[in-house]
Amino acid sequence: MSTAIASPVAHGTAHLPPARKPRPVAEFLSTYVFSKDHKVIGLQFLFSTLVWFLIGGLLALAVRWQIAWPWSDVPVLGKLFAQEGGQMAPEFYTMLFTMHATVMIFLVIIPILAGAFGNFLIPLMIGADDMAFPTLNMLSYWFMWPAFIAFGASFFVEGGAASSGWTSYPTLSTNIASSPGAGWGQTLWLIGLTMVGVSSMLGSVNYMTTIILMRAPGMTMFRLPMTIWAMFITAVLQAFALPVLTAAGFMQLADRTLGTGFFSPEGNIVNNWMQGTGGGQPLLWQHLFWFYSHPAVYIMILPAMGMVSDILTTFARKPLFGYRPMVYSIAGIAGLGFIVWGHHMFISGMNPALGITFMVSTMMIALPSAVKTFNWLGTIWGGKIQFTTSMLFALAFVSMFIIGGLSGIFMAATPVDIFIHDTYFIVAHFHYVLFAGTAMGVWAGIYYWFPKMFGRTMNEFWGKVHFFLTFIFMNGTFFTMHILGAVGFPRRLADAYHYETFHHLQPMNAFMTWCAIGMVATQIIFAINFFWSMFFGPVAGRNPWNANTLEWTAPSPPGHGNFDFQPVVYRGPYEYSVPGVEKDHLMQTDPPHAAAAAAAAAAH
């Protein structure tokens, strides 16, 4: 552990407020509820998103139940359909998969990466005492609550929650007669989406400013850990892409409530109901939506990629292979991410010539991801690998991302996409990158930074049990989806066995559903480990993993103001196993003479 000479505390203690009358409730609220401390806000995001993760997972189980055993008595939810003997109504199914995706994307993955990890880690890893705009930061969390309420309430309104898919294509989503969930459910969905967008925008502005302006002395941009690079570029993506979605959301809201016709063609009658003026085009929504939602999928993976880079280096005890190429790759993914949105629309009826241009750009975006994968392999090559829970999840990210990334090439190929578009091949692809990829990265991050957040380590044994079972069940659930897709099994069907072509696929789907049930049940182990360790786990020191980055120099957990000394950075974040240095890691704040002293001591 570094015994660097610490300069006396310069900032924290001088800011003590003058003594005043104690106001317990107000203080509780300002410390734990409306806190402006980035760590508290990060934890608020973390707890909220983990609760929604559970809800999203249960929605997925209901979906999987119907796919495996259509029209059978559904556990728990069957009580809603008691008249029919527990058999779910088909519109209920469309609502289930719509809300599963909506919850997972907007209330789990995006907030947990940017809101939880971004918030908690950015100031700590760059050596700042908090974010550039603490009040804005607090608001970015509290803007999530109207979204929680809107999405949550939408389940209970007449017609139920939104049921037009998370992609919300008109005219199914704009004409209120087109489906039960296209009434209040869809309106609340749009409101919730807008609130999430506001929260993300506030966060992104904060992160960009903080990273650019508040780095500790000596922390040049190319000494930043990959987590921070990833968070930074993700924030840029958010800032440029979100306004388009927000605008599109307002246009759809206007079509539904004000009678405008942005997305409805003239004379459009759905379910014998004509609404509004028409004169619009359904494809316009698709362009606007995917212009945001494609960068969104990179928003949903880049932070995880950054965190995985940091975790791999720590537990391989090796520098990152190709630091600058890794940074450029992230920037490349983000940049190219803005010119590939049309690959979601190859079959949509847009000008087929765009099928050529978007195919080229989509093929090319596989390149930076491939470069990153090779660099990760290069990082563990020749390392001294410690198989901690966190490392296992990070390795799983790499292994699973390879699958998810390679499957993307099939759909980038426009002629092949003619066949696999809207089939389970697509479902397999995005679940591999988002769940087998990002969620594994999230778990890696939780196990890794838990000691910093709560001052105690999670239980390693149960962590590994959690990893093992999740890994097995997850692959059991999603890998055979590639096969289903090859058969042509479409998405979003309440009962596919209607069709002779898909009749023999029921046993495979049943197997996948059992794996999914196992996977969700396994998370109970994680939940218990998480909460138990928070109160009863072994106390962690400042740097339980012997890692290099700045957060590991602060106390666990850090107090208000983060550091009890002024961090000064002397090197990059990946100086592990430096020859001639006795300990196998040289922290970013270790002064240069400490390295020489350590080398000298080794010589004796």
Partner: protein, 266 residues
């Protein structure tokens, strides 16, 4: 540090990924859970591309996953006492593994352009064989009558039951009455979204007789799963005969003989 067995165990777990992955893709075609039978002219090109990409990605998949396993096995801290390699990267390797994938991907993209153009851009110059109007939750078909023009009084209206002659160019005019649908015939390797307000041409040539599913492939509401249609590919003579008989039924001015009558009389 973990025990010596821990590293072996985890490495083998990661080896299971390429092993089981390849096994799944090998077993599936063998048990006939694979691409449906292709009966279209352009389907060969599409399937060929699918297999080409499968082969390419398969090689990369096996290589990278096995390398991952190998590194985990070899560089396990519990069994390997040497220090880690202190190396920040290799410029040569970066160039190599940037150029080669880039060239491969670019080649792949260009190689496919012709097939895409054939299926989606080079429309045959002919009048539509049939107009398909997607609706919640059925496929409404309209054949031009004897006058060969759609939109006249001799059109033939049908639901869900499409017939086409074999070995002939077919042009479908695809529309939607209400929301987005998608006209997907797995065995013909065609799929096209039906967009309200747009008239989109879809063309193909079927090479074999038989009956095949039409599936809706774009969420269109609660009945999305119900939109089952059927396309029957048959000889030109059978097709013409079928058109005539359907038309006669449509123009019926007398009821069909009721099977119940025949039973009652016996």
């Amino acid at each position: 540090m973990g025990s010596r067995f821990s590293g072996i165990f985890w490495s083998l777990l990661f080896l299971a990924v390429p092993v089981l992955g390849v096994a799944t893709f090998a077993i599936a075609p063998a048990i006939d859970v694979w691409l449906p039978k292709d009966i279209s002219e352009h389907g060969k090109a599409i399937d060929g591309l699918f297999y080409f990409i499968l082969g390419l990605t398969g090689i990369v998949f096996i290589a990278t996953e096995v390398v991952l396993f190998w590194f985990l096995w070899k560089y396990d801290a519990a069994r390997d006492n040497g220090p880690a390699k202190y190396i920040h990267g290799s410029h040569t390797l970066e160039v190599v593994w940037t150029i080669i994938p880039a060239a491969t991907l670019l080649f792949l993209a260009i190689y496919q352009m012709n097939t895409w153009a054939d299926v989606k851009m080079r429309r045959p110059a002919m009048a539509p064989t049939v107009e398909v109007v997607a609706r919640q939750f059925e496929w409404r078909l309209r054949y031009p009558g004897r006058d060969g023009t759609l939109g006249t009084a001799d059109d033939l209206f049908l639901v869900n039951d499409m017939h086409v002659p074999v070995d002939e160019d077919i042009l479908v005019q695809l529309k939607s009455m209400d929301v987005l649908h998608s006209f997907f015939i797995p065995n013909l390797r065609i799929k096209q979204d039906a967009v309200p307000g747009m008239k989109i041409p879809v063309w193909f040539k079927a090479t074999e007789n038989g009956q095949f599913d039409i599936v809706c492939a774009e969420l269109c509401g609660w009945g999305h799963y119900k939109m089952k249609g059927r396309v029957t590919v048959e000889s030109r003579e059978d097709f013409d005969r079928w058109l005539e008989s359907q038309y006669a039924k449509q123009e019926a001015t007398q009821p069909e003989p009721d099977p119940a009558d025949a039973v009652a009389q016996n």
